[in-house]
Symmetry: C2
């Protein structure tokens, strides 16, 4: 049994298309994944920006199966598998491992707040022990602005110490560079540190980090990957400024709806704009504003929609 | 097909027992439900204090089935059925309706934050339309300190206006009496308003409210029910003060763990103290402090554990 390599580079929480009936659309998702893989962007499907927590475990298992059937490479997949109930996390994570995914991105349980590090450690330990598979590679998911359940440095260190071959990285979406820097400085052996926004990508690479898992990589993959590869070539600051400019044109709107509006526009497939409640699509005025803002800088998504 | 009466009175989010293997324990739960029903307390199983969001939909469906098989009266049940994914909410709610439960207590989706009223309305509407059953009675669940997703008064009014026979009440666990009072003053026809803490029970009854759905009713049901029945008999203030005193002895500790420690102690069944991660049990020192604090006022849970 081969075990997965630890991941690095640029990944994206792939936006999830839904039909008019609000069902996940595996065909459109497959097309999007193919386009992203062609840009060398890894597939952190079922992230926050994938509306993953608006889908049931069964819906997510079905999507994994459909992607693999369509030939998407499991080695490039890091699905989000952390649920409110650890029994759900076990079921979904097991499926990802058995499907050959290189890793999983795991939220802590996110309903109860002010939980202790002991309690969070117990959840991750329970999941790891129940799965009991040497192929399991967990990337922790720290996103306190949304989960409202932060992962402290002592907790992370305790998990790495207890499960050094399983707890192998983190996505830091806290938006607080000092926290990322503290992890980079912690000296954890081969622990993969991804920033959750490409706005911190240059800083992360300069400090020995491993890349980013960024929502914007759904729409701006090539430029983000270019900075990942060339951050030390002398143009890093200018490349970072370019990424930030694109990012800011999206985040002036609700981010997930804006990403999907972008994909809808550049693919010529308006169905992509469909959101699953409780999130809502941009209205016509917002869509027009976003398009105008992107046209102002000549932004495009080359090759999108070509596979239809 | 008969439709359920709208509910009122005292209900409790029944604490959920777990075995050493962390599996829900239907037998212990049945005993607890019998004891509560004997005290005339209704069963809001799968509430926040039931650790409901640490259980999968399948686990909750199984528990409903086991309770009904054991003869627990579905007419006295208001299970919590609101999940992060509306497809899960539909599945669990359908099961509750088909099982004959008088109502369901429904959280909004709780992962995404800062969602719009339009988005929250769309979720509730989608659930109601998909279930499409005249027996469905939804009690909304407003608990912003934990869900971090408040239900605004305009949203509630819009739901009542659109689904007057389905959206029939609310549990307000916001801890803000002004919000409860604003709902009581809104003039919504026969809309059942429950406070989420018995600390507001006297105020709620004086202002035309319908009772409480309170964690403390797991341990102090008779006294809470007494205030519900006798709030206008002249001793209301003293009865409320008595309830508050007991409540404060529990909430000096993490509440759910303290409730289970209380049940464990007074039933003589230490297994009741087991928590499901990420929540953790009281340590030995906390348990001793809690017991001492309850002995100081001669607090007991009469008849608990007698059914074993």
């Amino acid at each position: 049994m081969s075990v997965p390599e630890r991941m690095s580079g640029v990944l994206t929480p792939v936006v999830t298309p839904f039909g008019n009936d609000l069902a996940p659309d595996a065909k459109r998702l497959t097309e999007q994944c193919r386009w992203l893989l062609a840009q060398e962007v890894g597939l952190a499907v079922f992230g926050t920006n994938s509306e993953a927590n608006s889908m049931s475990v069964d819906e997510k298992i079905e999507l994994i199966d459909r992607l693999l059937e369509a030939g998407i490479d499991a080695a490039r997949m890091m699905p989000g598998t952390g649920c409110a109930a650890f029994t759900d996390s076990v079921r979904l994570t097991s499926h990802a491992v058995n499907s050959g995914c290189s890793g999983v991105l795991m939220l802590p349980p996110f309903y109860y707040k002010d939980v202790s590090d002991d309690g969070l450690f117990a959840v991750y330990a329970e999941i790891i022990e129940r799965i009991g598979d040497a192929r399991l590679r967990i990337y922790l998911y720290h996103i306190p602005p949304i989960s409202q359940v932060p992962l402290s440095l002592p907790l992370i260190e305790r998990l790495i110490t207890s499960y050094p071959e399983t707890v192998v990285g983190i996505k830091d979406s806290g938006g607080d560079w000092a926290n990322t820097k503290a992890m980079l400085d912690a000296g954890w052996d081969d622990f993969r540190i991804f920033v959750g926004s490409e706005a911190f990508l240059l800083d992360n690479m300069r400090n020995g980090g491993d890349g980013c898992i960024s929502a914007s990589a759904n729409v701006n993959p090539a430029a983000i990957l270019a900075l990942y590869h060339k951050w030390d070539d002398g143009d890093g600051e200018a490349m970072q400024a370019g990424l930030n400019d694109v990012r800011e044109r999206f985040i002036q709107f609700p981010m997930i709806a804006a990403l999907k509006a972008g994909v809808a526009h550049f693919s010529g497939d308006p169905g992509w704009a469909q959101m699953r409640p409780p999130l809502v699509a941009l209205d016509a005025g917002q869509q027009a504003q976003l398009q105008k803002s992107l046209e102002d800088i000549g932004f495009t998504m080359d090759g999108l929609g070509a596979g239809k």
